[in-house]
């Protein structure tokens, strides 16, 4: 398997799918001529031409709404929001339209569309540009939500997203674009939705995470192994559908769980995961499920403060140790 970056894996997924299916079109701010502000769409305009790869005005709600219409009209649009923060300008088309149209119209139409949105914090972009909004998308029924941690999952999940006949919110982590890993080169190798991936097996405690938090959880597990704590790291991969079965089974085995989420803690997805774990493992849990979360503050700019707001490896290590030490 060739090694490539998360960015290149996404780029390859787009290219392979666009070659396969001429009804796939791509648009967004600066995705064509400029090749994307994170260069994920590099080479698309050159290969597929300006009929299929289009730059748009800065009009996020309409970027999504036009995709909704085009999907109703028989195409498979992949719309990029330059960053997920701008989804807040498009919540009307995302939540009021994209996720509801199929249902409210009695199932008479499919919306095979993908929204690609880079997100997450950690680059000192301050409050308006560092948000982790995944919980907002998980909360609303009617769409799939994927958020890969590795290049292989990035490629396989994006291909699945594009082939899915449902709307998909496809989140990408800005700090993972340069991360490298092996990626299957078979264009038919897909990663299914609704299946967690156990990225590390362990026996003492389960760490449930997603996207960049998975990478940090794996680093934490490595450190903890030195102290003889054996962590199982479960990567959600898709937030919707949520594969509770896999992480519940893991916690049943280990008896302890920590959830790592980059988003704000209050009403973040970590509360949902924790509740599902309690639902499924009430009598096998040996300690309360702990959350390692983004702080409940707007993101500060200063790197000194920013670091406090985003879960760090050391935070995970500390909370795992506390959970292991808890006596009940």
């Amino acid at each position: 398997m060739p090694e490539m970056t998360y960015r290149d894996a996404l780029n390859l997924a787009l290219k392979e799918e666009m070659r396969r299916d001429p009804s796939i079109v791509v648009w967004g701010e600066d995705v064509a001529l400029y090749e994307g502000s994170f260069k994920v769409s590099r080479g698309l305009l050159a290969e597929f031409g300006e009929e299929r790869v289009l730059d748009t005005p800065i009009s996020e709600n309409t970027i999504i709404g036009v995709a909704v219409g085009a999907a109703m009209g028989g195409l498979r649009p992949v719309a990029e929001l330059m960053t997920v923060n701008f989804a807040l300008l498009a919540m009307d088309q995302i939540i009021d339209h994209m996720t509801k149209i199929r249902y409210m119209f009695g199932g008479q139409v499919n919306l095979p569309m993908v929204i690609r949105a880079p997100g997450g914090g950690g680059s000192q972009l301050a409050a308006q540009h560092s948000q982790s909004l995944e919980t907002y998308f998980m909360h609303a029924p009617g769409m799939r939500v994927a958020y890969p941690a590795t290049p292989a999952d990035a490629k396989g999940l994006l291909k699945t997203a594009i082939r899915d006949n449902n709307p998909v919110m496809f989140l990408e982590h800005e700090l993972l674009y340069n991360s490298k890993g092996e990626v299957p080169d078979d264009p038919e190798s897909l990663v299914p939705f609704g299946k967690c991936d156990v990225k590390r097996s362990g026996t003492d405690i389960t760490i449930v995470a997603y996207a960049r938090m998975t990478i940090l959880a794996l680093q934490a597990a490595e450190e903890l192994a030195k102290e003889n704590i054996s962590c199982e790291v479960v990567d959600l991969r898709t937030l919707a559908p949520l594969d509770a079965e896999t992480f519940v089974a893991s916690v049943k085995k280990t008896g302890r769980a920590v959830v790592v989420e980059e988003c704000w803690k209050t009403c973040g997805l970590g509360g949902e995961i924790a509740t599902r774990i309690y639902d499924g493992c009430f009598d096998s849990l040996r300690a309360p499920v702990r959350r390692v979360s983004g702080l409940d503050v707007p993101m500060p700019y200063s790197r000194k403060l920013e670091k406090l707001c985003i879960p760090q490896v050391a935070d995970i290590v500390a909370v795992v140790k506390e959970t292991m030490a808890a006596k009940y």
Partner: protein
Amino acid sequence: MKETSLRAILPDHELVRMYEQMVLCREFEESCAEQYTKGHITGFLHLYSGQEAVAVGSTHALHKDDYILSAYREHAQAIVRGAEPRRVMAELFGKATGICKGKGGSMHLFAPELAFMGGYAIVGGQFPIAVGLAFASKFRKEGRIAACFFGDGAVNQGTFHESLNWARLWELPVLFVCENNAYGIGTSVERSSALADIHKRTCGYDIPSVRVDGMDVMAVHAAVKWGAEWVREQNRPYLIEALTYRFRGHSMADPGKYRSAAEVELWKARDPLPAFAIRLIEEGIVTQAELGAIKQESIAIVQEAVTFAEESPWPEDGSVWEDIYA
């Protein structure tokens, strides 16, 4: 100046059909009001009475496969496009036989086989969707245009602006049709729009536009005919503002106190139904007796629709989980 003879524009049977549809829509809406009062129809109910010339004039000027989108005052748009009144009524009753299986209700009719692409309840929500359908049509070289209907209140939403700019920039075949009935709920156009001449608001996008008498079905027909063909040929957007009026309140919950009785009467005197009937009679296209028969026929259709809706089954409980995902 003598008006052009109707026969020079459309064949007799189509003119009669147009009149029939106007009457049918009026009867349908009046029946809805009754069913709402009885509690058979619930939720929000926005009636179209008074505006029939717009839906009928437009639809007959469009190709059958041109896309139509509208807001929540869309029963007539759907029915004129060909939706069965009984299935629309069943939808309003929330029955399983409804056009959207009872899931959409009054504000969300949808009939893709008729290219009727939906009623939307978020003011301004349909603009970008219409642009997207136009994009798909152009991309697939289908030659269909997207006709997007909306109210005067919708033009102050950001999506109106974003969509006009986008449609012109990408050169997409969208026909924007504003049904200016002078009010968005209780707020008049003058109190919501910096420029009350809505059709002039396209000047900032290099999009041509025209204002038309929305109480005159043939005037609407002519404007949409010309506009739709221009849109189709140029692959560019165009906007029509039809001046019209709703005879009832905004929804069934609205007593309509913000409009004077005199104003309402003035507009009722311009009711598009009798106005069109008179022209049809004057030109000898229908007789007075035929008019009566048309009305009876419409009443019968609507009554049958109500019976159908009443007798239809409720959706199964299990269906609540269906239709979310493909």
